[in-house]
Symmetry: C2
Subunit: 235 residues, 2 copies
DNA sequence: TTCGAGCATATTGTACACAATATGAGTCTC
DNA sequence: GAGACTCATATTGTGTACAATATGCTCGAA
């Protein structure tokens, strides 16, 4: 029973597993399921009206994408990234999205530009609607859209994974006092693309990512997954 | 039963699944199992002396790492990348490894340099031994080693996936007349790292990747996974 | 001989029952 | 009352039996 969509959010439910996968994945990405929440197999099986085996399969897939964590004999929880992990994800994003920016300028044609502009409209609409879930999703989709424009499905997959993890990270480390209004920044990026300003776009993208990261409070909060054994290894 | 090692080739067998995963993964990466080979669950179960369920989990894990393809109701085969996929993997590698090169120069200290030089020794040894499998592995490990030096586990994971896929791609599209002797090129890269020549390293890395790709015959060979439906869609 | 239908076989897909495990509550002792 | 021990319960882990499916073969008819 392959979760046929893989990590990609397929529009049409190719297999029942893929559908469940998407539902849970979205619930997590849109923060209806918060980091640390337990995901009990029986409960999910009942909710989705399928057998436990199916759920286990889906949980396995989600774990692969690092949005849930499996604890041997103790079940699954929504992943709770550490500060270290958060920093690594952002570093990876800067590296990949920075390099991607150059390619985007090269790859963008009229059709692509249309898609980009259409996307901004969606972002504005979701910000107006005050639907936080959709707001987050469209904002994240902008970043994967760039990979799509470059036309490299390997990179699309990577970006998709990074964005899902970013969603979790934001959920944990977001400072309540700041709200990121991204459509404006994204519009500026599109402008640079339209002007074929390669270096400008790269810089702006890196700036954008740094800004997002700076809006987080990336220091250890509560009893994060600290590994006791490691801490007392030298005693 | 999480395949605890994930896609990382763990040294110590944390769980029986992880061990099986590693064995199959290595068999594929080292080309003892060639693209297209069928992987029948019962057979594998018998070989490894475990139940079929265990094998299914492992196959699922391998599928998500794109080294195995699952066909609904028809079982698993070793993945057989298409030309398109091959080109995308190499494009992704250029993008990521190119950008990584800059970071490597920054991140390399004495300890890292030692690791790099030790690795070269390994490469030379395996080339001498004429053990094609080990030769391939050490050569590929060099590239993930760079990510390790930068110290970003997210990138290490990406690189590992890309290298596994590259192994498959090479297996399919390699031209029999050319043998890549990589340790020499890799040594030159290390030299550039030692000299802190950022731009030089980036260029050399891109050159290296282009060279590898150019040694492949990236045109459609036999009856690659062509989708009949798509081809005759307009009839 | 060619085509198709139906059957045989090999293989994968799924559910279920039970085993293993972790955790917390309750109990007993000192 | 503090600590350790046992047991109850909730939950996950695993093997097995059986159902579903795909594929190739056989056989019969045109």
């Amino acid at each position: 029973m392959p979760v046929s969509g893989g990590k990609v959010q397929a529009e049409k439910p190719e297999s029942p597993e893929a559908e469940i996968y998407n539902k849970i994945h979205r619930a997590i990405a849109e923060r209806r399921l918060l980091p640390g929440s337990r995901l009990v197999e029986d409960q999910l099986a009942e909710v989705f009206g399928v057998s436990r085996m199916r759920i286990r399969w889906v949980l396995q897939s989600l774990a692969r994408d690092k949005v849930v964590t499996l604890h041997r004999n103790r079940g699954a929880t929504v992943a709770k990234p550490t500060v270290k992990e958060a920093k690594e994800v952002f570093a990876a994003r800067r590296l990949i999205e920075g390099a991607l920016a150059r390619e985007v300028v090269r790859a963008t044609d009229d059709k692509a530009l249309k898609r980009l502009k259409a996307h901004i409209k969606k972002e504005i609409a979701s910000e107006k609607s005050h639907d936080r879930a959709m707001e987050l999703r469209t904002s994240h989709d902008f970043h994967t859209l760039l990979a799509e424009i470059v036309g490299n499905s390997v990179l699309v997959d990577f970006l998709q994974e990074l964005m899902a993890r970013s969603a979790l990270i934001t959920a944990i480390f977001e400072r309540p006092d700041i709200s990121v209004c991204s459509h404006f920044t994204h519009s500026k990026l599109i402008e640079l693309i339209e002007n074929r300003d390669e270096q400008g776009l790269v810089d702006a993208m890196l700036g954008h990512l740094n800004e997002i990261e700076s809006y987080l409070s990336l220091y250890e909060k509560d009893e994060q997954p600290v590994d006791i054994k490691t801490i007392f290894a030298d005693l």
